[in-house]
Symmetry: C2
Subunit: 211 residues, 2 copies
């Protein structure tokens, strides 16, 4: 998917779970539940989604959903997250960081364009505090963390600008599917966006300059 690739997997209690652990069969069940959860959260929003409704859509008993995810909050966290490790920007030559950072996200987004899971996080995030907090945490982990680790001045402002460009790209290309962006070859999109991110990483910001 897309937006949910911005989030990180929780392999703790909200992950496969202490009871749900096991072979490929439990993994299949887990995936079926997550798929049903994304559809249900996207259609109804966070507040109006029930464990019962997700279970019905997945064709299993509600107790199974609880066994795998523990609670509605745990189910939401798992549905909103995939396994995407934060990029270690400091290990990348400075001049390549913008491009590598952009490709880190875009390659995940392009791999899995399932629009319902993309829309699900966005739709719930714009109306629900719990979900907005989840996106904030993802931003902190995926963008603010790596940028801050570089030890540059204004890491917070630089991260904010980078986040606005990357989330805007995901929103327009994968979720709203605005044209012409949705149809442009990705190799025409990555270089100019990478240049922008490189600028946000390295250029003086207004707070450094004489305004």
């Amino acid at each position: 998917m897309s937006m949910s690739d911005l989030t990180t997997r929780n392999d703790g209690p909200a992950g496969a779970g202490p009871l749900g652990a096991g072979g490929p069969r439990s993994e299949r069940t887990r995936r079926a539940i997550l798929h049903a959860a994304r559809e249900t959260f996207a259609a109804k929003g966070y507040e109006q989604t029930t464990i019962r409704a997700v279970a019905a859509r997945a064709g299993i008993d509600a107790s199974m959903v609880m066994r795998y995810f523990g609670s509605k909050a745990g189910l939401f966290t798992a549905a909103a997250t995939v396994n995407l490790a934060a990029l270690d920007l400091a290990a990348i030559p400075p001049r390549e960081r913008g491009e590598r950072f952009v490709r880190h996200f875009v390659s995940n987004w392009e791999d899995d364009l399932s629009q319902d899971s993309a829309a699900f996080l966005m739709r719930t995030a714009v109306t629900d505090q719990t979900v907005a907090a989840q996106l904030q945490e993802t931003f902190n982990q995926q963008i603010l963390g790596p940028v801050s680790a570089l030890g540059e001045q204004d890491a917070a402002s630089r991260s904010a600008l980078i986040g606005s460009q990357l989330l805007g790209l995901a929103l327009c290309r994968y979720i709203l599917r605005l044209e012409p962006l949705a149809s442009l070859p990705i190799e025409e999109v990555v270089p100019p966006v990478a240049r922008t991110v490189q600028h946000y990483l390295t250029q003086p910001l207004p707070s450094d300059e004489q305004m």
Copy 2:
């Protein structure tokens, strides 16, 4: 608000309306209906919103809503739009275009941060085709049109990149309210984003270059 300032007012039949025209009293009624409509569309989405529900929230009769806006589609268009003329980029000195373009949108967004009307367009847009089409039309009118009028090569790709940055800014700052972007002084946000838009307007794109 924010996202809805990206759209343009329809002063035709879906505007004040041939029957609803009149003095300040009918304008007050019109505003009350639009306010109720934004809240209702945001809470229920486009499909599940009814004229009756909007009327009830506004405390008036459903026939009044029909009299002012003609149909649910007309009501939606009016609720999603404000009076924002497209910027005439060609009339602006080339080196100032990025900054003027960014300020054109940001000054509207900063003026009216009502989050429910911001969230309303975004939430419905990510799940509803009608609304996505409305946003596409707004993009065409506010970004693609002015950029194409400059007569530069690759106007469509340039507009797409500009749109991704501007919509990402609106999304992160006004709708998701991601920190630190939501709290940064706007004078720290505009210059770097303006530089990006200026680059998207003027720099060679990959399609021009040896890849």
